[in-house]
């Protein structure tokens, strides 16, 4: 089932025009022999808000570093905005804003001076508009009031905002945000989320890595899931969530009998827990009402009957095998 989703997604977003990030067999083996990223084929459609999911150590940050030209791939190719990286990184990166593995600042400089420093590092940035661009970036992330403070006095949330401001110093075609809401309070998270939506509405493609699944579900149009260095699945978020089938749950004082009847009707992945019996939701052509009727005919006293819709979190857990095993 998940394979079909991946295949469909591949066909829909596939390589070629309209792809902002595209990798082919991208692989990184570190000197110790550890395989961090293994044959990654990623396709990020233009204009999408692309969620990049995966447990710690699954190769997300290594992938982002390869896309940004910071580390060289062992094999495979990567294209960003249609140009190969790291070869063409110098022409591509001015159009890319990035927040990689948290913010890094010069503690002895003020927030404003930090932005001036990063902007001066970009040879395409116009020094005549620097002041104005720095101020508007500070404004955009809500740091205008604290811009004169030394960065070492900033809280983690403020550092995160300043890192975001650095990514917004110029109009960008692509924003790469690695865990952008880390260290922010709920209000800050909401602000960043609405900022991401705003930027996406302006036509910027946003590539967002996060552990917070509800965040991905709220903000992203597309997503990819990594596990142990490999791409497990990618595609539109709606397709991914649909890919993880919901669970059919029956609450009854006769769980044993209920399980027998469900099994007889072809239900798989049966789990009995007290007075609850659950199974994988049957394929679409099975009429749930018929199943319920069969239970009742079999003498099962049904208290509750229904399908719990799968969230992206279920899909994530099912795909990466992290946490408890949903399929029982």
């Amino acid at each position: 089932m998940t394979d079909t989703v991946a295949a469909t997604a591949e066909r829909e977003t596939g390589p070629g025009p309209g792809t902002v990030i595209e990798t082919r067999g991208l692989t990184k083996r570190y000197r110790g022999g550890q395989l961090a990223v293994d044959g990654l084929d990623l396709a990020v459609p233009a204009g999408s808000v692309f969620g990049f999911l995966g447990p710690n150590g699954s190769g997300k940050t290594t992938t982002i570093r390869m896309l940004m030209g910071l580390i060289a791939p062992t094999s495979g190719t990567a294209h960003v905005l249609g140009r190969p990286v790291p070869t063409a990184a110098r022409t591509v990166l001015p159009q890319v804003g990035a927040l990689i593995e948290g913010p890094a600042l010069y503690g002895f400089l003020t927030g404003r001076a930090n932005l001036v420093r990063f902007d001066s590092a970009d040879p395409t940035a116009d020094p005549r508009t620097r002041r104005a661009r720095v101020e508007s970036a500070l404004d955009r992330v809500g740091l205008a009031g604290a811009a004169g403070k030394k960065a070492k006095a900033y809280s983690l949330g403020m550092k995160q905002r300043l890192g975001l401001a650095a990514a917004l110093l110029q109009p960008r075609s692509l924003l790469v945000l690695d865990e952008p809401t880390n260290g922010l309070d709920p209000q800050g998270m909401r602000e960043i989320r609405s900022l991401v939506r705003e930027l996406a509405a302006e036509g910027t493609t946003v590539f967002l890595s996060s552990h917070l699944l509800d965040e991905i579900e709220q903000v992203c149009t597309h997503a990819a899931v990594m596990a142990r260095g490999r791409l497990v699945v990618q595609g539109p978020v709606s397709a991914l969530a649909a890919g993880a089938r919901g669970r059919l749950t029956v609450t009854t004082p006769d769980p044993g009998e209920a399980a027998r009847v469900l099994a007889a009707h072809g239900a798989t992945g049966l789990v009995t827990d007290g007075d609850r019996v659950s199974a994988e939701a049957p394929p679409g052509e099975v009429e749930l009402a018929d199943l319920n009727a069969a239970l009742v005919r079999g003498g099962v006293r049904v208290r509750a009957f229904g399908v719990e819709r799968a969230s992206l979190e279920d899909a994530f857990v099912a795909l990466t095998g992290e946490g408890f095993d949903v399929t029982g």
């Binding site: 025009p17 309209g18 902002v20 233009a46 204009g47 290594t62 570093r65 940004m68 030209g69 910071l70 580390i71 060289a72 905005l81 249609g82 140009r83 990184a89 110098r90 022409t91 990166l93 001015p94 159009q95 890319v96 990035a98 990689i100 593995e101 948290g102 913010p103 890094a104 600042l105 010069y106 002895f108 400089l109 001076a113 001036v116 420093r117 990063f118 902007d119 001066s120 590092a121 970009d122 040879p123 395409t124 940035a125 116009d126 020094p127 890192g163 650095a166 110029q170 109009p171 960008r172 075609s173």
Partner: protein
């Protein structure tokens, strides 16, 4: 949306012709705005003042101090009481073997590794600063620091010398006398010669800085190499390698106080520094442009 539209994106300005200047200015302000840099310069400025006060206190032991103590550094001390200008020469001779290169070692060793350990290196590179361009800017700002540090010692020595002692005609090592103005000019030349002496060591420090992601480790290793080279340079058994050690000709600047000026050793020093700068500059470039930035 087509690929062409995508890549066109927001209008991207072509890099300016003076593409290195913006980042160089940024490097310089970042370096000199650090409290650590200011503290290093403060220590360097204090050394001549301390020497001057010490000499002033010891003034009791006569003021003969015949000219030319063989060109060795501390020999200038005996002349300071006669002429405050000699405090410049004495202070540079006293700081060149240890204090000046140590300060340069701290700045050069930290230049790349410090940014790596702070994480700011990755943001400079995705800006994108360009690895070659960033390295050149780093080396240039270290060289500016060499010159500034030397000038701080010289100017502080000149001020302390003029305040504590009489100034006037200068007796050269060769025994001739030159006017104060000419003496001042020579002092300026000596400061430049001392700064140039540090060029090779600065490149070495930059190279070490590209090898590690720890600023502290790079600074310690750079200063360690300095001390090792200084020790090797004093061992007579290793005579054969002495001409290839970067500190070997450092004190050749005293030849600027001869009349006429004796250039041989200074030219040799210049050549040696150029070789060190070329070798370790290339090594730093080769390392830095191919390095995986994973911090």
């Amino acid at each position: 949306m087509s690929q062409a539209e995508l890549t066109a994106g927001p209008a991207v300005r072509a890099p300016r012709r003076l593409w290195a200047l913006g980042i160089l200015r940024s490097e310089l302000t970042t370096t000199f705005r650090r409290w650590r840099t200011v503290a290093l310069l403060g220590v360097l400025a204090a050394v001549p003042v301390l020497i001057g006060i010490a000499v002033r206190i010891e003034t009791g032991d006569g003021s003969e101090g015949g000219p030319g103590g063989g060109g060795g550094g501390p020999a200038f001390l005996s002349q300071v009481t006669n002429n405050g200008l000699f405090l410049v020469f004495a202070a540079l001779s006293a700081t060149l073997p240890v204090f000046l290169p140590m300060a340069v070692g701290v700045i050069a060793g930290d230049s790349v590794a410090g940014e790596a350990s702070g994480g700011t290196l990755r943001y400079l590179l995705v800006a994108p600063a360009g690895r070659t361009r960033l390295l050149l800017a780093k080396y240039a700002s270290v060289l500016v620091f060499c010159l500034v540090a030397t000038l701080v010692v010289a100017v502080s020595a000149l001020a302390a010398g003029a305040l504590l002692f009489p100034v006037g005609e200068v007796t050269t090592i060769s025994g001739t006398r030159i006017g104060f103005g000419e003496g001042l000019l020579r002092a300026g030349l000596i400061a430049v010669a001392v700064a140039v002496s540090l060029v090779g060591f600065a490149a070495l420090g930059l190279f070490i800085s590209t090898l590690t992601d720890s600023g502290i480790a790079a600074m310690a290793a750079t200063v360690g190499v300095l001390i090792t080279a200084q020790i090797l340079d004093t061992m007579p058994q290793l005579d054969g390698i002495h001409p290839y050690l970067f500190p070997h000709y450092w004190l050749s600047f005293t030849d600027l106080l001869r009349d006429p000026v004796y250039w041989d050793e200074m030219v040799r020093n210049l050549g040696l520094q150029a070789v060190y700068a070329a070798v370790f500059g290339s090594a730093a470039w080769a390392r830095f442009t191919t390095k995986d930035i994973s911090v």
